[in-house]
Symmetry: C2
Subunit: 381 residues, 2 copies
């Protein structure tokens, strides 16, 4: 496998996650497997109790706070177990024993996964569900009625499967706002101080699978129970700076490298968003100019900049599209197994040129198959 | 950082964990960061739902079963959260609501950590504690009285901090036997079929931090509760072959490479044990021939082949020893922060030649410092 060839394949990786990471980060990660430059040991064999690793965690905490423009009363944690663990850990801390229900939005596959885990721990009210409309759109403000007595509200900022993204902050400022940002974390600036907790697994925009970033405001945790297992207790994790037990050292180090890349190479979240916006515009334009051949799943106003989900006229054409794309070097384009179709994920690590190549490929594929499709409806003439 | 230099440092890494991995595995891992040969994508950007990753998990499950000589009614899981998560997950599944206490041995730092987590979930009886003897030895059979009505017995096969290791199987065959083998997993053959569950985090002998192997017998889980969060439910993890949610893809892949190395390069666990035994003998000989200058902590019969913990005559000499060793390229020799002193960890990935070099260094260090130490007692003449 030559470097050139591998670059080409990584560069056209549209996987929904684990997703592509920036090439310059991969180069540094590769070096670190034999030796982290400032330590001289493999990143896989460095103690989590070493002075060096303490500086890694401290810098990464600061980098995340700085990128999100958050003050010091927000703690930054690096946990295991993915967003799935947060689906449980969060209501264990903030919902168990409560009378008033926590308020959840059900806007797609992943916000739906959070519901049964929360219900296991305490009362839940679903403020709005997109189930009846096949998760084709997100709610408007006038459809949402949040209660002042809720322990917290919870929603997913970007529905990875359906390709739906909120382009505003939801909820009310007198109720703690908690958001699963797994698939759009650090992809754009935002009013992050309006959130009491944000969590995101790393494997979309910021690193390998195996670490989850939790950003939590100090005061949210003042009344959490004392009888939780240590690894499921946010306060224990805060006190130990995420080194309650052995953390995923490698994954945390890679996230550090990605935040440095975001800050130093890209120039921060506004610059990242400008690139991500161009990527998304390029691909949605390919959909919009296809005269319905590529039919986007999401309502226009709720289109995600991270995940573009769409269908072709027939399942057979979708299978052919995926196979042809793969032969041309584009990988990861199959839609999520729950809904099928096509999904192109445009995470931070993917370059604009890759999206332009995909748009070209799509135009070509369409022009080759359009007569055929038209023929289907017109009796094969 | 030249390859030679990094090899030298990795080769002399005696860290208690995360520990050194075999050089040939590191080379393959390094390649995989840019591209896994059979996929053409970075290991960090491959979907956990890909066909390729399913083959990784399937092969790794088989490799672990084959190395341990276990039949198919043992499931092999790859979870997150370390042994610490198992300290809770295990009693959640097998102790909650029980009348008879589970039986735990308290033989050192790590078995002690398991106790409060188990007590949170149900009744616990400590069968034996080494606390009063400073965890300097392990119990003899005649000191142990296991009850037939216990839901399970739990012990730690190798106490990483104190350097104590059981060289026999404990308990009784009519009570499920559960063992934390985190620091000696896959280091030697054994009667593993006598265990109902074995768990081990990867970062000692078999991989990077961030994945924990659980080997569990089907019938142990027949009455476990149905109301556990999915990620803490062994049966959910079994049904999904560890892909309940996104698993730590990279760490699992590295563990696969280590099991291939164990099988193909080393030749299995008996061959691994032969090497590990020579390594341990070499270092203990250095202790035994030092006339008390290097004072081992563990009783002879209970000496660990994985972790050799010892003291020098004074804390000042210990500090000088660690600094001199580091200057000579030996890293990771500081004892665990809970007890100080020196600890040399001899995990699978460490070569015999490294231990021989350390033994030489120790002999030299002693000969340079012996007159000084003798002088302390004799008035500086």
């Amino acid at each position: 496998m030559s470097l050139l060839h591998s670059n080409l394949l990584n560069g056209l990786n549209f996987s929904g996650g684990p997703g592509v990471l920036p090439e310059s980060v991969l180069q540094q990660v590769q070096d670190s497997i034999l030796a982290v430059p400032e330590v001289g040991l493999s990143i896989l064999g460095i103690s989590h109790r070493s002075d060096w690793f303490a500086t890694v965690v401290a810098e990464l905490e600061d980098n995340v706070r700085q990128l999100l423009k958050l003050p010091k009363n927000y703690h930054v944690l690096f946990l295991q177990g993915g967003a799935t663990q947060q689906f449980s850990m969060l209501p264990m801390a903030l919902l168990a024993g409560k009378t008033h229900p926590a308020e959840y939005l059900h806007t797609g596959y992943w916000s739906g996964k959070a519901l049964p885990e929360a219900r296991r721990e305490g009362p839940v009210r679903v403020v709005w569900s997109g189930e009846s409309c096949g998760f084709g759109r997100l709610p408007a403000d006038e459809e949402l009625d949040f209660h002042a007595d809720a322990p917290y509200i919870h929603y997913v900022s970007n529905e990875t499967v359906e390709g739906l993204q909120f382009h505003r902050v939801l909820g009310r400022d007198d109720v703690p706002r908690i958001c699963d940002m797994s698939s759009d974390f650090l992809s754009a600036p935002g009013d992050f101080e309006r959130f009491s907790m944000i969590y995101a697994h790393a494997q979309k925009n910021i690193g390998p699978a195996g670490v989850t970033v939790v950003v939590v405001k100090e005061e949210l945790l003042k009344d959490t129970p004392d009888n939780l297992p240590g690894f499921l207790d946010y306060r224990t994790q805060i006190e130990t700076h995420s080194i309650y037990n052995t953390p995923p050292v490698f994954s945390i180090y890679v996230v550090l490298l990605v935040t440095r890349w975001l800050r130093d190479q890209i120039g921060g979240l506004a610059a990242m968003d400008a690139i991500n916006t161009r990527k998304a515009e390029t691909l949605y334009q390919a959909l919009d100019e296809s005269n319905g051949f590529y039919a986007g799943k999401a309502a226009r106003a709720d289109r995600s900049k991270m995940n573009v989900s769409f269908n072709l006229p027939t399942p057979a054409l979708e299978a052919e599209f995926i196979a042809s794309a793969l032969a041309a070097g584009f990988s990861g384009l199959a839609g999520h197994r729950s809904i099928g179709g096509i999904r192109a994920s445009l995470y931070n690590g993917l370059e604009l040129s890759a999206v332009e190549k995909l748009a070209d490929f799509m135009a070509n594929f369409r022009s080759h198959h359009l007569p055929l499709v038209a023929g289907v409806g017109k009796g094969n003439h």
